[in-house]
C-alpha cells in the first residue's frame, strides 16, 4: 500500500496553517493523487509504473503551495493559535505569513512596476519631477520650521524652562522678555512653582586682539544660570554664588570659540587673568563652556544681538544697593528665566506672579502699573525666543504643503488617466483570475517606486533650497544654528513620500475594486474610467487645484503688495549715503556722563573735518534698531489726572547734526544747536505724533514738558515721525521725544554715529576709523552698516516670505495648468467617438469647441469661487503679516481670480480645438 499522504507531505512544504486545516488539505490531496494513480492502473499500467508516472507528472508544488495559501483567509493565516504549529513562535509565524503574502511575486511585481515606469517615460518623468520639487520645497521649509520652532532647545529639560517679562500693552506690547533686578529679587521669594531662577543681560565688551580693539559679546548672569540650564563648563567650573557678591574678585567663563582664539585651546588658560577693555578690569578665567553650548539665540529680530557666533563670555551678575533700590523698579534690560518645579504647571507660575504683581501695584502706586495695564508674561522659553517668526514660518509651511497637495492631486489625476488606459488590461487579468490583492499590490508598488524615486531627488532639491534660504537671510532667525537636515527631516520626507505614494496608488486601486470583470469586458470596446464616481473625482481634483492655486497666489500677491508698501513707507529718514556704527565708551576711562559727552564732541569734530562728510551726529537709538526706550513725559500745562494712562514716548538723546545726517525732516521750529549746553535753558524736540498726543490742535513750539523729574524742557522744534522698531511701525506708538546730549546725558553709554557723505558712504569708513583711533585706540567701532543695509536687513524675513510665497504661488499655478490640460485632453480623447457622432449629426466645430470649453469653464469657475472663499476665510491669519493692505482687498482678490481664470482657460483651449477638429469619418470607422 502506497502512502499518498507521505507523498504529498514530501512535496508540499508546511503551510503554517491551523493543524486541522492542514491535515484536511493533505488528506484531500492525497485522496486525489490516489484516484489519479488508480486511474493509471485502470489504463493497464502496473502498480509500480503508475506510481512512477504519478511522480513524473508532479506539478509545480511551490506554486500550488502559494496558491493554497492565497486561497486561505488572511486572518486564518495570521491568527492561528500557538499550539497549532510546530513550536514556531507567534511573531515568527506572523513574519512567515507576512513573508508568504509579500514574497509571492513581490520582486516580479517590483520589476514589472519599474518596467512600466520606464516604458511610460513621459508620465513617470512628469510625476517624479512634480513630486520631487514639491517634496523638496516641503523638506526645506520643514527643516527650518523643525529646527527653529519644534526641535527642543539643546538643554536638558528645555520644555520646563520659562521666560518671564513685564508687558506694557500700550508701550511695548511685543516685548515679553523685559525685567528689572528688584522684581527678580521679589520673584525669587514668591514664585515657589519655580525651583531655580536666573537673571541675565547681554554685556558687550572689548578686547585687543593683535593690537586691534574688537568687540566681544558676553552675558552677565546670576550664578544660578548654569544650574538652571543644567550645563557645566567643559573645562574648569561654573561660578559660585559667592562670586556674584559685590566686592568678590572678577571672574569670567569663556566660550569654546573665544578660548580657542585667545589661548589656542590651552587648558592652562584656567586661572589666568583676562583684561576686558570696557570695564578695564582683570578677570580670572574659571571655566570654558562646551563647544556646542548655545543658549538664548534671539536672531537679529531681538533687541540684543546675540550674533551668529553666540555668546563669547560670561561674567557673574551681582546686585548693588542701587540695583535693589525701589528706583530700579523701572530700570529694565534684564532677561529672567526659571525652571518649573517637577509637578508644577506653567499656570501655577503665572498665578503666583500675578499675585505678586497685585501686591507690588499697591506697594508702588507711583509707577502707575495698574493704570498702564502692566502684567508679567510667563512663556515657554523656546516660544519666547521664536515668537516673532512663528506665524511667518507656519504660513510658509502651509503654503509649501498647499503646493505639495496640488502636486499630489496632479499626479493622482495623471495616474488615474493612465489607469483608465490600463483598465481593460487590468480587468482582463482580473477575469483571468489574477487576484485582486496582487493587482492592488502591483499598483501600489508602482506608485511607491515612483514616489520613492521622487523622494531621493527631493532630498537633493531640498538641500539646494535650504542653501539658497541660508544665503537669503535664514541666519537672522532665532535658533538658526539648529536648522539642518537631520534624520528627523529626512525621515519625515520619506514618510511623506511613502504616504503620497500610497495615496497615488490607492486611486487606481480603489477603481480596481469596483472594476467588475464583466462591466469592462461586456461594454465591448469602450471601457476605461467610464464610472460616474471616477469622472466626478477627476473634476473635483481640478476644482481643488484651482482653488488651492488661488489661495496661494492671493497670499503671494498680498505679501508682495505689503512688501512694496513697506519699501515706499516714509520711515522718517533718508537712507541714501548714510553710514552708521556703534561705539561703547568704556566706564574705565569715561567714568562720568560728562566724559562721554566730551568724547562724542571730539569724535564728531574729527569726523566732521573729513572730506566728503556732509553731516554727522550721534544718537542713543538708531531707526530700525528694533528697540525703543520709552519713558514717561508730561505736558507742563496739563497735569494728568489719576487714572489717566501715562504718555510713554520713545526717548532719544542726540547731538546737533544728527537730524541732518539722518535726513529727518524738520516740520517747524529749529534743530538742536551747539549752543544748547548744560548751561543754557533745557530744550527738547518732539515728533509729530507726540505733538498731536500732548497738544492736539495746538502749536507745541514754546510749550514745556517734564521728563520724570522737575526740569522743564521747552519744545523748540517738531520733526517727522521716525520708525524705530521696524518700517511697519506701530499704530499705537506715543511718538518720540529728542533731547540734546549736552543737557541730558543718555542713561546708557551706547552711541550710534551717523555720517552722511557726498559720495559712497562705505568709502569714508577707513578715515572714520583712523580718526577714531587717534582719539582712543582702544575704542572699537562695531555694527558698521549703511542705513540702506539696515533697511534691507530689517526686511529680511519679509523678503524671504515674499520670495518664497511668490515662488509657491507660481509653481501652484503652473501645476494647476498642467492638471487642467491633462484632464481635459484626456476627456476629449475619451469622448472622441461621441464628438464624432455629434459632428456627424450636424454639430458645428464651433459648437464642439463650446461644449469642451464649457466643461473647462464650469470647473475653473467652481475652483475660483472656492479659492476666493478660502482666501477670505484665511485672510484673518494674514492680517498681522501684511502692511498697508487688507487681506480681503477686493482689487487683489479680483485680479488674482481673473489671472488664474484666464491662465486656466488657456489650458482648456488646446484640447477644445482638438475636439473641434475630430473627423467623424475616421472616428466612426474606427469604432
Amino acid at each position: 500500500m502506497r502512502d499518498f499522504r507521505a507523498l504529498v507531505r514530501q512535496h508540499l512544504a508546511p503551510l503554517a496553517l491551523p493543524r486541522h486545516r492542514e491535515i484536511k488539505i493533505v488528506e484531500e490531496l492525497a485522496a486525489q493523487l490516489e484516484d489519479a494513480c488508480d486511474a493509471l492502473v485502470g489504463r493497464g499500467l502496473s502498480d509500480d509504473e503508475a506510481w512512477a508516472e504519478l511522480q513524473r507528472q508532479m506539478p509545480q508544488w511551490a506554486t500550488i503551495r502559494d496558491d493554497l495559501l492565497d486561497a486561505e483567509p488572511a486572518l486564518v493565516r495570521l491568527a492561528q493559535p500557538a499550539q497549532d504549529t510546530r513550536g514556531a513562535a507567534f511573531p515568527s509565524r506572523i513574519a512567515s505569513a507576512a513573508r508568504a503574502l509579500l514574497a509571492t511575486g513581490l520582486l516580479r511585481d517590483l520589476q514589472s512596476g519599474l518596467r512600466l515606469l520606464v516604458r511610460a517615460r513621459g508620465y513617470s518623468a512628469t510625476a517624479i519631477l512634480t513630486l520631487a520639487v514639491c517634496l523638496g520645497a516641503n523638506m526645506a521649509i520643514f527643516s527650518v520650521v523643525y529646527g527653529v520652532l519644534l526641535r527642543p532647545l539643546p538643554l536638558p529639560g528645555a520644555d520646563r524652562i520659562v521666560a518671564l517679562g513685564d508687558v506694557y500693552p500700550t508701550v511695548t506690547p511685543d516685548d515679553i522678555l523685559s525685567n528689572t533686578a528688584p522684581s527678580y529679587l521679589d520673584r525669587l521669594e514668591a514664585l515657589t512653582a519655580l525651583d531655580e531662577q536666573a537673571l541675565f543681560s547681554f554685556w558687550f565688551d572689548a578686547i585687543a586682539i593683535d593690537g586691534i580693539a574688537q568687540e566681544l559679546r558676553g552675558m552677565r548672569a546670576t550664578p544660578s544660570l548654569f544650574r538652571l540650564l543644567g550645563v557645566q563648563p567643559a573645562l574648569g567650573r561654573a561660578f559660585t554664588d559667592a562670586e556674584a557678591e559685590i566686592g568678590a574678585g572678577p571672574r569670567i567663563i569663556l566660550s569654546h570659540g573665544l578660548w580657542q582664539r585667545l589661548y589656542g585651546g590651552d587648558p592652562a588658560a584656567l586661572g589666568r587673568d583676562l583684561r576686558l577693555g570696557w570695564t578695564g578690569e582683570r578677570y580670572t578665567i574659571v571655566g570654558v563652556m562646551p563647544r556646542d553650548f548655545r543658549f538664548f539665540d534671539l536672531g537679529s529680530d531681538g533687541h540684543a544681538d546675540a550674533g551668529r557666533d553666540g555668546i563669547q563670555f560670561w561674567i557673574p551678575l551681582g546686585f548693588t544697593a542701587a540695583h535693589k533700590s525701589d528706583g530700579a523698579r523701572t530700570r529694565y534690560g534684564y532677561y529672567h528665566i526659571g525652571r518649573i518645579r517637577p509637578g508644577a504647571a506653567i499656570e501655577e507660575v503665572q498665578a503666583q506672579v500675578n499675585a505678586l504683581n497685585a501686591r507690588s501695584f499697591e506697594r508702588f502706586p507711583q509707577f502707575r502699573w495698574a493704570e498702564m495695564g502692566m502684567y508679567t508674561a510667563v512663556t515657554p522659553l523656546q516660544h519666547a525666543l521664536t515668537r516673532r517668526v512663528r506665524p511667518t514660518l507656519y504660513l510658509l509651511w502651509g503654503a509649501a504643503a498647499c503646493v505639495l497637495l496640488i502636486g499630489a492631486l496632479n499626479i493622482a489625476n495623471l495616474s488615474l488617466a493612465r489607469s483608465s488606459a490600463r483598465a481593460r488590461d487590468l480587468a482582463t487579468r482580473l477575469a483571468l483570475g489574477a487576484s485582486r490583492l496582487r493587482l492592488t499590490r502591483q499598483l501600489l508598488l508602482e506608485a511607491v517606486v515612483l514616489s520613492g524615486t521622487a523622494a531621493l531627488l527631493a532630498i537633493g532639491i531640498g538641500t539646494a533650497m535650504l542653501r539658497v534660504l541660508a544665503s537669503g537671510g535664514l541666519a537672522t532667525l532665532p535658533n538658526a544654528a539648529a536648522v539642518r537636515f537631520d534624520a528627523t527631516v529626512v525621515a519625515a520626507t520619506l514618510a511623506l513620500a511613502a504616504l503620497i505614494g500610497l495615496l497615488i496608488g490607492m486611486v487606481p486601486a480603489a477603481m480596481l475594486g469596483r472594476l467588475g470583470a464583466q462591466s469592462v469586458l461586456a461594454t465591448g470596446g469602450r471601457f476605461g474610467t467610464g464610472g460616474r464616481t471616477v469622472r466626478l473625482f477627476r473634476r473635483g481634483l481640478i476644482v481643488a487645484q484651482v482653488a488651492a492655486s488661488v489661495v496661494l497666489l492671493i497670499g503671494a500677491v498680498l505679501l508682495l503688495t505689503s512688501f512694496r508698501n513697506l519699501l515706499s513707507v516714509d520711515a522718517g529718514f533718508d537712507p541714501s549715503r548714510v553710514i552708521t556704527a556703534t561705539m561703547f565708551p568704556p566706564p574705565s576711562r569715561y567714568a562720568n556722563p560728562g566724559d562721554v559727552v566730551a568724547l562724542s564732541t571730539r569724535v564728531l569734530d574729527a569726523i566732521r573735518s573729513l572730506p566728503d562728510v556732509e553731516a554727522v551726529g550721534t544718537t542713543s537709538n538708531i531707526p530700525l534698531s528694533g528697540s525703543t526706550s520709552p519713558a514717561t513725559v508730561q505736558a507742563a500745562d496739563r497735569r494728568a489726572g489719576p487714572g489717566d494712562a501715562p504718555v510713554l514716548p520713545s526717548v532719544v538723546v542726540i547731538t546737533p547734526g544728527y537730524f541732518e545726517a539722518m535726513g529727518t525732516p524738520l516740520i517747524s521750529g529749529r534743530r538742536f544747536l551747539g549752543s544748547d549746553t548744560e548751561k543754557s535753558a533745557p530744550v527738547t524736540i518732539i515728533d509729530e505724533r507726540l505733538a498731536v498726543r500732548l497738544w492736539p490742535g495746538v502749536d507745541p513750539i514754546g510749550k514745556g514738558l517734564y521728563r520724570g523729574g522737575s526740569v522743564r524742557y521747552t519744545v523748540v522744534g517738531v520733526v517727522g515721525e521716525v520708525r524705530f522698531e521696524s518700517l511697519a511701525g506701530r499704530t499705537d506708538s506715543a511718538g518720540t521725544a529728542y533731547f540734546p546730549e549736552a543737557q541730558a546725558p543718555a542713561t546708557g553709554r551706547l552711541r550710534w554715529i551717523a555720517v552722511r557723505t557726498a559720495g559712497d558712504p562705505a568709502m569714508i569708513l577707513p578715515s572714520v576709523r583712523s580718526a577714531l583711533r587717534t582719539i582712543d585706540p582702544d575704542l572699537p567701532l562695531s555694527d558698521v552698516q549703511t542705513m540702506r543695509e539696515r533697511v534691507s536687513q530689517s526686511l529680511v524675513s519679509e523678503r524671504l516670505a515674499t520670495a518664497l510665497s511668490s515662488l509657491f504661488g507660481v509653481v501652484a499655478l503652473l501645476l494647476s495648468v498642467v492638471g487642467i490640460y491633462g484632464v481635459l485632453a484626456h476627456l476629449v480623447a475619451r469622448r472622441r467617438r461621441e464628438i464624432g457622432i455629434r459632428i456627424a449629426l450636424g454639430s458645428s466645430p464651433r459648437g464642439i469647441l463650446r461644449l469642451v470649453l464649457g466643461e473647462g469653464v464650469v470647473l475653473v469657475c467652481a475652483g475660483l469661487i472656492l479659492g476666493l472663499a478660502g482666501a477670505v476665510a484665511l485672510g484673518r491669519t494674514l492680517e498681522d503679516q501684511v502692511f498697508g493692505v487688507r487681506p480681503t482687498d477686493p482689487v487683489i482678490l479680483g485680479l488674482v481670480a481673473a489671472t488664474t481664470g484666464v491662465v486656466a482657460l488657456l489650458a482648456c483651449v488646446s484640447p477644445a480645438r482638438r475636439a473641434a477638429r475630430v473627423d467623424p469619418v475616421t472616428v466612426l470607422a474606427d469604432g
Binding site: A31, D35, D67, L521, A522
Partner: protein, 115 residues
C-alpha cells in the same frame, strides 16, 4: 496585454474557475472527477493536474460559489464532493456571458470569423 502573457498561470487559473464551476453545474463531483471531465470535454486540449485544482476549489469554496462536504461510500475512500451553490450558479452564468463577449471581441479584433 503584455501582462497577460507574462502571467500564464493567472490565465489558467482564471479559466479554471469558469471550467470548475461549469463541471459542477450538472452534479456534485470530487476533484479528480472535475479534472478528468475538463480534460475529456476539451478533447484533451486543457488539462490540469488534480493538485493544482485544489487552491482554486478552496478559493471558490471560500467565496461561497461551491460547497464541499466529506462523503464516505461503502467500500470507497473518503472523498470530498463539491456542489455548485445558488450564488455559484449566478456567477457561472455571468462569467459565461462575459467570456462570450470577450471571445467575440477577440475574434473580431483578431479577424477570426465564425465557421
Amino acid at each position: 496585454m503584455a501582462d497577460i502573457q507574462r502571467d500564464e498561470t493567472a490565465l489558467k487559473k482564471g479559466t479554471a474557475e469558469l471550467l470548475i464551476l461549469a463541471q459542477l453545474e450538472a452534479r456534485p463531483s470530487h476533484g479528480y472527477e472535475i479534472a478528468q471531465q475538463i480534460e475529456a470535454r476539451s478533447g484533451g486540449a486543457v488539462s490540469f493536474h488534480v493538485a493544482s485544482l485544489y487552491p482554486i476549489l478552496y478559493r471558490l469554496e471560500r467565496r461561497g460559489l461551491i460547497a464541499g462536504r466529506w462523503v464516505e461510500k461503502a467500500g470507497q475512500r473518503r472523498r470530498r464532493y463539491y456542489t455548485l451553490t445558488t450564488n455559484g450558479r449566478r456567477v457561472l452564468a455571468d462569467q459565461r456571458r462575459s467570456w462570450r463577449a470577450f471571445m467575440e471581441a477577440i475574434q473580431a479584433a483578431a479577424g477570426v470569423t465564425h465557421a
